[in-house]
């Protein structure tokens, strides 16, 4: 096919989602955040909810999420996003409210806010990006860091005696009566991206149907933090991360 043919609108198979801003991303090559952002933008657009959606950005690599998705945003203190989202949703029950949080934000410093927002069954969506490392601050140990996995603060690998075990926070959240959907997804293949998007949409629909809290965990790569190429990071994730954090629905009611 000639280039002239290819660029015809009827041949368009993929474009930047309408709600993604034309901004240069700060994420590293191979990082999962970009794809997850894109899915959120697409779902909000497809649900025609952009005028009613409020996102809460975390502290961590996604702190600048508000530079990429064209909706109203609040920037939370580290770990506090579910508290902000609780108030936003309670004060504006007709809005669609979600938090976007990393593993340190959600499962370390913000554990109390996460568990109690879920336990109250707040009608919000929690997007949880688990890459088992603190990316923004330079690759320190996260609550979800795998055993023997080296990071800047466990350079000889995560050690049980010193650091305890990787925290399977989603399993814990699935036990709470306030959650209606807890699912673990990834965005490393086209098929996985499609599945993840479906579950993300379900989560947002749940929040508007007042079904309780929905958590979509994305088991993700951090090629820079893991000190791997993007391709090697994807393979390492499949071989190691998926063993500890298997994909699928932990709860879907």
């Amino acid at each position: 096919m000639e280039p002239k043919e290819i660029i015809k609108p009827e041949n368009l198979v993929y474009e930047r989602p309408r709600l993604m801003l034309d901004a240069q991303m700060h994420y590293c090559p191979g990082c999962s955040h970009g794809v997850i952002h894109q899915l959120i933008a697409e779902v909000i657009d497809e649900m025609e909810m952009e005028e009613k959606t409020i996102g809460v950005a975390p502290v961590g690599c996604a702190v600048f999420a508000y530079n990429y998705i064209d909706i109203d945003w609040q920037e939370a203190a580290h770990g506090r996003a579910p508290a902000l989202a609780t108030a936003i949703k309670r004060l504006n029950p007709d809005k669609m409210v979600f938090t976007y949080q990393g593993d340190g934000d959600l499962a370390a410093i913000g554990t109390a806010e996460t568990i109690h927002a879920c336990n109250r069954g707040e009608n919000i969506v929690i997007v949880f990006v688990n890459n088992a490392i603190y990316g923004m601050t330079g690759g320190q140990m996260a609550p979800t860091t795998l055993l023997d996995m080296p990071t800047a603060t466990c350079p000889y690998g995560r050690n049980v005696e010193l650091n305890g075990y990787p925290l399977k926070i989603s399993d814990l959240l699935a036990l709470l009566d306030g959650t209606c959907l807890v699912t673990r997804q990834a965005v490393h293949t086209a098929a996985a991206v499609r599945r993840a998007k479906k579950m993300l949409r379900k989560a947002f629909e749940n929040s508007m149907a007042k079904k309780g809290t929905s958590i979509v965990e994305f088991v993700s790569t951090c090629a820079s933090g893991w000190k791997m190429t993007p391709d090697a990071a994807n393979k390492w994730m499949v071989e190691n991360m998926f063993q500890k954090y298997p994909l699928g629905d932990l709860k879907n009611i």
Binding site: T53, Q74, T86, A87, I88, N92, E113, H116
Partner: protein, 362 residues
Amino acid sequence: MAEEIKLMKGNEAIAHAAIRYGTDGYFGYPITPQSEIMETLMEERPWETTGMVVLQAESEVSAINMVYGGAACGKRVMTSSSSPGISLKQEGISYMAGAELPALIVNVSRGGPGLGTIQPSQADYFQTVKGGGHGDYRLITLAPNSVQEMADHVALGFDLAFKYNNPAMILADGVIGQMMEKVVLPPQRPRKTEEEIRREQPWATLGKPAGRKRNVVTSLELDPARMEENNIRFQKKYRQIEENEVMFEELMCDDAEYLIVAFGSQARISQKSVEMAREEGIKVGLFRPITLWPFPSKRLLELSKYIKGILTVELNAGQMVEDVKLAVNCNIPVEYFGRLGGVVPTPDEVLENLRKMRKLRK
């Protein structure tokens, strides 16, 4: 609800005034001696009348961050706590100052440091008026001295917070929170509609209509030049507040040779001491700062030209006395008297210290 006269505790007055102001949300965590605020709200069930949200959070940290979330929607939201809980809230208060969010925080303070005591104290003065959390910011601080002012300062605090897009604090203490007095409650005001908020708080995150740029509420700015600009803007605002919003009360100051400077519950006790001193022929007046920040420095400097000395009376080890000394430029003697750890002085003790100071300064 029309205007009503009731007998109640200071804490209860806060709750009733909050409902009547048209507050959108209260988020709190129980702690003595202020738990009646949330208890009263839960008993009143304002969600059935005005639509006000009342929520018991899992911690003070969470409660203040719920306030951040609500405030960033342009809503009238508040929290309350007592000293140890207010320490936990400092993170959120600093973020709100940095994001220029209006909200009302009530501190019915108790003795510290640490878990301290549940008895009244004014030892959070420094924490409140000098910062508390990290960064260069100021908190508009109101110091009620009666149950009536507990009620009145809810509206005043919210109005100032929204006038300047800055958090405001009511700094009371266990005496004012727990004592019962007659109070005139204001008539019910309607809550702001979403349309009103969108008009009056165009920065509010209520969802982005087509045609407007997205609203982002954040305290983050990594470019130092822009962060400096932000800080300069904050400082300009603080100077404006200092210029326009100072409030104080003077009792028998016209012919006074000496002044007692006291706020909150200590102003009430000192008022009695002033009356007793006057009976003895000591010409003393009471100067009561109502705003602790902005502090009434200008007026104190003016008064210092006509008086021989000042005694501050505080439920702490001498905190406001520093601001009084700064205000009067040390051109007259400034002494301090106070009790610590939850002990409240009697009017006689205050009078005794006034006599002592007078003897020294005659």
